[in-house]
């Protein structure tokens, strides 16, 4: 039987997960409070799916049409009650997420697993307002979702083994490998990446080398897929700064995780990377 996935939030992450899930033959209930937002999200998925139809590609037009048909618009949370798994991809705000999970806890069927895609908040804290925290876990996807082969599953303080197993199976159906990490600040990937970005930003601050030189050395010499400054520009400088700041606070202001003043300045000045067409690089069309 096809896995049924509820997705809360039709922003960048929600859209990418819906696309991935539909392509992997899961039924998707895409929820947002605004009907227009969902309509635009589905249009975006349609456009992105069309780009995947190539002569030598694995997908036919029919495959993509079927994928689109698997995505249903939802504007009532209650409509997600029968999903096998509900993936929350709402804004990174603990109060918002905690309230949402409290509602989901009362709405969703008792067998439904509830997961958050948070990159910086504690799963234990998000689950703290619910009566069944054992069915709540983290499920981190990485951009670009369609090409990154990993999902990081985060085990909260009360997450049960059954929930972890269920999420691992769901990730398998999405064609992704998994690792399980403990609910600690930044989990695995963001915590380790904080050093990649943080050290590069400090080198830039010290004028050890230019943005281009640091990125080129790390990609050509180091073999990393992408340089830190190009990646920050893609994610959004303001977004990255907020995540860095959240990690720093959650690490009780340990200097290893101190955010960069360069990012704060750029963010305050409206220079936010690719989305503003100007960031560490300015060659965005």
């Amino acid at each position: 039987m096809a896995l049924s996935i509820g997705i809360i939030g039709a922003g960048d992450m929600g859209v990418a997960i819906a696309h991935l899930a539909a392509l992997n033959k899961c039924t998707v209930a895409l929820y947002d409070i605004n009907d227009e937002v969902i309509r635009r999200a589905i249009e975006r998925i349609r456009t992105d799916l069309k780009k995947q139809v190539t002569d030598d590609g694995p997908f036919t037009r029919d495959d993509l049409q079927l994928a689109l048909e698997r995505i249903k618009k939802r504007t009532q949370l209650a409509d997600l009650d029968t999903c096998d798994i509900i993936i929350e991809a709402a804004m990174e705000d603990l109060r918002v997420k905690r309230d949402l999970f409290k509602k989901l806890d009362t709405i969703a069927h008792y067998t439904t697993r509830l997961v958050s895609t948070t990159s910086s908040l504690s799963i234990t804290a998000i689950a703290s307002g619910t009566k069944k925290p054992e069915r709540i876990a983290g499920m981190r996807f990485f951009q670009p979702v369609l090409s990154r082969g990993l999902i990081e599953i985060v085990r909260g303080m009360h997450t049960s083994d059954e929930t972890i197993d269920a999420i691992e199976q769901a990730a398998g159906k999405l064609g992704r490998q998994t690792i399980v990490s403990r609910d600690t600040p930044g989990f695995v990937v963001s915590r380790i990446q904080s050093q990649y970005y943080g050290e590069a930003l400090r080198l830039l601050q010290d004028e050890a080398a230019s943005v281009e030189t640091i990125d080129r050395l790390l990609t050509i010499q180091g073999g990393f897929t992408s340089g830190p400054f190009r990646m920050i520009d893609e994610a959004g400088i303001d977004t990255h700064f907020e995540e860095s700041y959240a990690l720093f606070e959650r690490m009780f202001t340990d200097p290893r995780y101190r955010p960069s003043d360069i990012e704060r300045q750029m963010s305050d000045g409206g220079v936010k990377g690719k989305k503003t067409k100007k960031g560490f690089y300015d060659n965005y069309a």
């Binding site: 915590r191 050093q195 990649y196 073999g223 290893r256």
Partner: protein, 287 residues
């Protein structure tokens, strides 16, 4: 190194290569691929005989040991005065190294570091004494082996090695805090973040003692707490392996490592004394 006989024609160009065995071997192979003959650094006669064909000397000792000093001094004393000395400056700055030799103007730093030598892009660092002629000559040497150079600030850790060291240290802190297993962390960073190697796998390739020494050097240079090393890195640097519950089997030798003081990483060239597993296991079984 190719063995020369009286009948073997000499390559048009030659270079002196010295340093840590595996790095020197890798660099020698690279030079020889480009028809540059490698002269053993400690052979003063060979150096003299090849002097008209020499283009540079490469010093590839990563850690700032007495041996690195001695090697640099030997090269400085025997290499023709106009030739550049291109020295790995990852754990000790080019400026600091230039103080060890007489002709300090001819020393130039470069990113001679395990796992990075094969790159077509290489960073070099200058000292206030480095002359334009030396920079020009050094760049020509790298161009001859098809490497593009970029000039960066002369600082401990340079660019890539310092970042890799921080990443490896953070991964080991995460293992120590039981955030995930070492294998999971390696998988995660390769698949989610596009790393060429998992951080712990990378640490094994470079050598944990080298990573610890590099972070110590960065901390000593900057005085910054962010370069403090994890206990697990210290343990791996000293013993070369992860702690495991198995070593607590009856009568098995228990590896107890005292925390090393800063800047006192063990010499990676010294053989590591490992517990005798088989005998211990046999003793445990016989009981």
């Amino acid at each position: 190194m190719k063995k020369q006989t009286p009948d073997t024609p000499h390559a048009a160009h030659a270079a002196v290569v010295t340093g840590d065995e595996s790095l020197a071997r890798e660099w020698t192979a690279l030079l020889e691929q480009h028809d540059i003959e490698c002269i053993p650094a400690r052979d003063a006669r060979a150096l003299k005989a090849a002097s008209s064909r020499l283009t540079a000397a490469y010093e590839l000792t990563v850690l700032p040991t007495d041996e690195k000093k001695e090697r640099l001094r030997f090269i400085d004393a025997h290499l023709p005065a106009h030739l550049p000395i291109i020295s790995s400056s990852v754990t000790v700055t080019a400026l600091a190294q230039s103080q060890w030799i007489d002709a300090r103007e001819r020393l130039i730093g470069f990113c001679g570091f395990p796992t990075l030598l094969g790159s077509p892009l290489i960073d070099i660092s200058l000292t206030p004494y480095t002359t334009d002629a030396v920079v020009h000559q050094a760049r020509a040497c790298f161009t001859a082996i098809e490497k593009e150079t970029v000039c960066i600030q002369d600082r401990t850790g340079m660019i890539t090695p310092g970042i890799i060291a921080q990443v490896i240290n953070e991964a080991l802190m995460a293992v120590q805090h039981n955030v995930a297993s070492a294998a999971s962390i390696d998988t995660a960073m390769k698949l989610a973040a596009g790393y060429p190697f998992g951080p712990i796998e990378w640490g094994e390739k470079i050598g944990f003692a080298t990573i610890a020494a590099l972070l110590d050097a960065m901390r000593a240079e900057t005085g910054e707490e962010r370069f403090r090393t994890s206990q697990l890195l210290r343990q791996l640097a000293a013993s070369g392996k992860f702690w495991s519950e198995n070593q607590l089997a009856p009568e098995a030798p228990v590896l107890v490592q005292e925390e090393l003081p800063l800047g006192d990483a063990p010499d990676p060239l010294k053989p590591v004394v490992r517990p005798k597993k088989k005998k211990a296991a046999a003793r445990a079984t016989s009981k």
